[in-house]
Point group: C2
Chain length 219, copies 2
């Protein structure tokens, strides 16, 4: 039985980024690099490190075409390699956006380079905001209702039997309402900090509303 | 009563794109340009055209922060201007992706420049694929069922009383099944061309399945 090749890196080479591109491939221990645009000098440098290089040029002018071509290349690579990684370099917006969306669809980790070109950063997958199950549940309720007070939110959570989402620790004890409301307040404040909900005074109480960001991302 | 200012352009200036940036502002007839990164030479050139320039620097390293800052700048600009436009130039992936997402949320038209720098292209809003109501309805049914034959799809459409979605022209005539099936076939083929559904032989018939692209975009 043949051993499966290990790592494949996919990138769209950008002018002036030859060195960081090759460094990334070497650090990753890539067995193969797929270049989405022919770039002769990259190819020879990568080859000199014993890395197998292939060029699979993609169309560059339409986002949807970039997505579809990149998706095909990713699924091909996934068949032959244990790990597929994307390096996203500064490039045309169509190319960057299309490649990024393809990574989100295929859950392929995408990295970028820092300005100093010595560090690599991982790009979070869309929808970016990392919120936990409980926060997501609360956010969904706020989006559904349009606006809601903390007390009414708690009632809704109780009714739907999702009371346990308000606890981070597992416990069989029966809780009073106070600690639960406090935990709910903490979650709302975290969502507010992430710009996913906003607070508004309505008479003597506050109501919580979704933001355009959360409506776009989670609705 | 004061007249509302007319056009505001927002952009993140990129090295080597000073000329197309200024040309875009002039062509647009922008009264104001908001630069998301200070770029002295752009500023003075724009000013020499009588365009009001403001710098509102945004963070560049995290997609979510780029989105949030850009959203704020867009809503501010929308209050003072009739039209807000974005010019997306080649830049760090975090900046490009974040600015693009902000445009999709706020429905602000975003343009890019062609390689020759003489033409501007409009970027479609996410989810990119432009499909009509009928096609969207059919796609949703295919995603819901996982896979379905054309005949079963037609049955489903009939049951839900959405038969009229299969006609482009309004008509009171009673149609036989043949022309309806033909229209359904046409819609399926269009969705297939957009890589939103795929066809698979199952025994003596074909079934239609969603693709990873359509599941990501419309599910």
């Amino acid at each position: 039985m043949e051993t499966k090749n290990r790592r494949c890196m996919i990138t769209f080479p950008a002018e002036g980024y030859k060195k960081p591109l090759v460094m990334y491939a070497v650090k990753l221990g890539a067995d193969k690099v797929i270049l989405l645009n022919p770039e002769k000098s990259c190819m020879s440098l990568l080859s000199s490190f014993g890395i197998n290089v292939e060029v699979k040029a993609i169309p560059k002018n339409k986002v949807s075409e970039v997505i579809i071509s990149t998706l095909k290349i990713i699924s091909g690579a996934k068949k032959d390699y244990d790990e597929v990684r994307m390096l996203l370099l500064p490039s045309n917006p169509e190319v960057v956006i299309g490649m990024y969306v393809a990574c989100c669809i295929e859950k392929v980790k995408a990295d970028t380079i820092s300005d100093t070109e010595n560090e690599y950063f991982n790009l979070p997958f869309f929808p970016f905001a990392e919120i936990n199950e409980g926060e997501k549940f609360i956010l969904t309720k706020i989006i559904e209702t349009g606006k809601i007070s903390k007390r009414n939110l708690l009632e809704k959570i109780k009714k739907e039997g999702s009371y346990d989402l308000l606890y981070s620790r597992k416990s069989n004890a029966i809780f009073g309402e106070e600690p639960v409301l406090k935990q709910l307040q903490r979650m709302l404040e975290r969502l507010e900090k992430l710009e996913l909900v906003s607070r508004e005074r309505e008479g003597r109480r506050f109501v919580w509303k979704p933001t355009s960001l959360s409506k776009f991302m989670f609705d």
